[in-house]
């Protein structure tokens, strides 16, 4: 993926119950030229997705009220109109089993907190097909940054 993914929706769904992280992610999304649609819990994220599949990507926190990020992804991967939306799953947990479970559920990027803004920018660029995907992933001092090929894309 070396060029902008022409035609991909310009909106990004952001779900996190933490207002600090939600605002930070929204700012990174806007700086990347996309429009964030923010919600505070998993149930609200699913409600929006049921009515609207027009998102270029989604960024979910793992641990949220009502519904965890990984459960939203499982739901999305069973719905034809949602299954191709790439998802970044953020979490404070770093255990390898959780990362494995996240990828099995259909997460595209596993992003441990705290992440740097550059790491999030890189992840978004990769998912949305911008040239940033050709750069080396930014280094981090702890945790694990991991990604797999977005669903349905080469």
């Amino acid at each position: 993926m070396s060029s902008t993914n022409v035609g991909a929706p310009r909106r990004i769904l952001v779900a996190d119950d933490d207002p600090v992280v939600r605002h930070l992610v929204s700012s990174v999304v806007r700086r990347a030229g996309y429009t964030p649609v923010t919600v505070e819990d998993g149930r609200e994220a699913v409600r929006i997705l049921q009515a609207d599949a027009g998102f270029g990507a989604a960024v979910f926190d793992m641990m949220m009220p009502y519904l965890e990020g990984i459960d939203i992804i499982r739901h999305m991967r069973t719905e034809k109109r949602l299954m191709r939306i790439p998802v970044i799953l953020m979490t404070s947990e770093t255990e390898l089993k959780l990362m494995k479970d996240s990828f099995e559920a259909g997460a595209t990027v596993f992003l441990p907190k705290p992440f740097t803004t550059l790491q999030l920018q890189f992840s978004l660029s990769m998912l949305l097909g911008k040239s940033g995907a050709n750069r080396e992933p930014p280094a981090r001092s702890s945790g694990t940054f991991a990604a797999r090929t977005p669903a349905g894309r080469s």
């Binding site: 207002p19 600090v20 700012s27 990174v28 641990m63 907190k113 705290p114 803004t117 999030l120």
Partner: protein, 145 residues
Amino acid sequence: MSGRIEVADHTGVETCAVTRTSALDAAGEAVDSVVLLSLEEAQVEGEPDLVVELIDLYAEDTPRRLDAIRSALAARDLAALRRAAHALKGSSASLGARQVMMLCEKLEQSSGLQGGEMLLTCLEREYARVRLAFADERGRRLRGA
């Protein structure tokens, strides 16, 4: 995580002994200024100072999180304690409040409620330091210094 936190109760006096191993912690900074600086990468041109906005959100949200931890301890509700500590851990880590983050981690990982009150005391003390550091940072940024 490089720091190790030991909480002890010596001679009836509550003590928060934090073993600090990084250069940052040794300097006793409540907030990692490098983390705050890195947040500027997300600043959208022409919009209000992002770091100030994040500090304000943290200041608004944290008392609620501390209340939740306090209530969970009072109710001896371990699941609620872990949820509340986890939530505060995330926002604190994002803004470089490392000692608060580590104390929350300690609370989150506690297998029982014993020692929780003392951890909460440590957490409140550390948050007071963070609040002062953020007030300074906020003022500096608003003055354009």
